[in-house]
Symmetry: C2
Subunit: 399 residues, 2 copies
């Protein structure tokens, strides 16, 4: 299949149902920003709402803003909105802490809910924080973290596995697990599954309820565009909520935090997985970003992200044969980025930067995030042009 021509790209942009959302972001003129999988761009509404939260809420209402301005409900309210991006019920998602902290809470809670099973199962080569957190959490619970290759998952799922923890979209290869299939196999083995959706929520179709998912976490600052270090979110299927308790028994997870009771009594629903006082400023930016995504809707975002990736791969195959793609090819299920291996990846990335194209580097892998709300098809065309020029200028290096 021939790669799309400039006219094809212009046509794709002209017909893009999400084209108007680019105006909702504050992006430097002329920059082609393809690192939204590391840090999403600034939604204009996030800047405006944050200013209001600072001046009209914190500055003017002071401590009464906790109730008068809806701060105290923000973790549940924003969680309920994120739920709509990942196919969950509103009371199955809450915003809290960071992805790493949420992973810890859910891993420990799940291991304690499966006391007879010794193994926490994970997958080799996944995002390091997941593996680090899993290892320490397992050790603390007197269990064992076992890591298997991605393709040996089924063999690893035996009757000693309490919990399987894995990322839905891989941070390097953009491969997506079939969530329903993995859940079904784990459940058949009596194990729970905890998904990290940091690289898929907001950019791929995710159906937590429909796929029978147990637990999930996700970050707020990548495709959700919530800002640097935005709080993370966690999901617990309603059927598990009363059976799991958080090891981080902070006061905001108490059934009645403002009673200041001496004994810990976890809140009845998912709120028991809150811990400390919620970070209102960061939550405000995140909520503005999520509102935009709810307007755009997941099916359109996922379809555009995939098509942007297809176009990138088709153009790169034609113009940049020296790049080795490591992501699923055109037409296949894929997360929100494309990635290529090259021995001079670092030099190429730096050169791209000088040409106004921002990507990022993971070892010898170049990654380009294709955030569907602000990346245009013609941006992809210009990025591949820049990549072609950068490759021509790159030092010869045998990988």
């Amino acid at each position: 299949m021939a790669a799309p021509t400039p006219a094809d790209l212009a046509d794709l942009d002209a017909k893009d149902p999400l084209a108007r959302f680019r105006e909702a972001f504050d992006l430097p003129d002329g920059l082609i920003y393809l690192a939204g999988n590391s840090l999403g761009a600034l939604p204009k509404a996030a800047a405006a709402r944050l200013e209001a939260a600072v001046r009209a809420q914190w500055g003017s209402r002071l401590v009464e803003a906790w109730t008068a301005c809806g701060w105290i409900e923000a973790p549940a309210r924003v969680g309920g909105k994120i739920a709509r991006l990942v196919g969950a019920a509103p009371d199955e998602v809450i915003v809290a802490d960071s992805t790493s902290v949420d992973l810890f809470k859910l891993i420990v809670a799940a291991l304690e809910a499966r006391p007879g099973r010794q193994v926490l199962l994970g997958v080799k080569g996944e995002f390091p924080t997941d593996v680090y957190v899993a290892g320490e959490a397992a050790r603390l619970c007197g269990r064992r973290l076992a890591l298997v290759e991605r393709d040996e998952l089924e063999a690893g799922l035996n009757e000693d596995v309490a919990l399987l923890v894995l990322t839905h979209g891989h941070y390097r290869t953009a491969r997506l697990f079939d969530m329903g299939q993995v859940n079904a196999r784990a459940h058949a083995a009596g194990a729970l599954v905890l998904w990290d959706l940091s690289h898929s929520a907001g950019v791929a179709e995710v159906d937590l309820s429909g796929s029978g998912a147990d637990l999930a976490v996700g970050c707020g600052y990548k495709y959700l565009n919530g800002g640097p270090g935005a709080p993370a979110w966690l999901y617990i299927a309603e059927r598990h909520q009363a059976l799991l308790t958080s090891p981080l028994a902070g006061w905001m997870g108490h059934a009645a935090p403002f009673d200041f009771a001496p004994d810990y009594r976890p809140a009845p629903g998912i709120a028991r997985f809150l811990c400390g006082t919620p970070p209102i400023l960061s939550l405000t930016a995140l909520e503005a970003a999520i509102d935009l995504m709810l307007e755009a809707q997941v099916p359109a975002m996922a379809a555009k992200a995939r098509r942007l990736g297809d176009v990138f791969l088709e153009l790169a195959a034609e113009r940049c044969p020296a790049l080795e793609p490591i992501v699923p090819g055109p037409g296949q299920m894929r997360g929100g980025h494309v990635a290529f291996r090259h021995a001079s990846a670092g030099a190429i990335l730096a050169d791209l930067g000088r040409r106004g194209v921002v990507g990022d580097l993971r070892g010898d892998v170049l990654r380009f995030g294709l955030s569907p709300l602000y990346v245009r098809y013609q941006d992809v065309g210009r990025a591949v042009e820049a990549l072609t020029a950068a490759l021509a200028a790159a030092p010869l290096k045998v990988g």
Copy 2:
């Protein structure tokens, strides 16, 4: 001793070396805000710097702001500034997570560093989150949380105690422990001590190094004025840093987070107690607030907070005999607030609100925070006037 007259209060304000700092805060006209111990007021610089961080950093520099704008160093940089407020070396404090999460990390780390000892010792009636978190952390480590009365602390410190966890300034009574004395007694028994400084940092003299402190945490949104849900901070004496590891092994605590190595290798210093990606927007507001406190300096802030409290207590003793003070009296060591028990506390607080005075309620206790950078002596005079009127109007209730 006669209570100060209005002329005395005007004179105290005229001579107040911190008077100029009130202008650095954005406070509604006419409001007397005495809940800065729950949520500190908005520093004007925090609003301005947050706007710059959003538009000029996130919006313009995007992902490169992590290095170009000093985001990645922010937890250590702001921690180093907080260190100067609490008598610690710059590399002994780091900003991370919430107070509750930080308590958990340090409790588990300390219990694991004292494997032969079965008891985590705490004090009854302290801020609930401390007790909740301690209870779960102890259980997870296979240890036991023992709570003693405040005055029985010494008897509780036996050779089975691994760690003593307690709050320096009490959230209701404003009583301050003698930090050096407690540390010495705990050390004599072979125990470590973890202090929660949420109600004393920034408003009382704290000398972590000089008092031989081991570990501490504190919140960012009370007297530090860092904004709603501002990140918390933690302190580890340099001598302990290599011996403790965080149970929350997130990637930001790794020795080389951007190597994406498969194995967890904790950072050499206190950075190993970072966990997830730092919340930059909240950190920006907190840093602006801390910079203001460093300019004001702790001795002046502590002296003024104490004097404001003395004045409040003297005036209340004269005008409001129906109020029962529950804090240390004039001239004594005290945290940053005054508090009074009254059977109709709720009705009185509501009436005060209508009179433009904001305090808060903890059960049947009225609390008034005396944040030294923006509360004036004449504010205290007007607050006691309002309190006198509110008491006269309060429903008679036998407590």
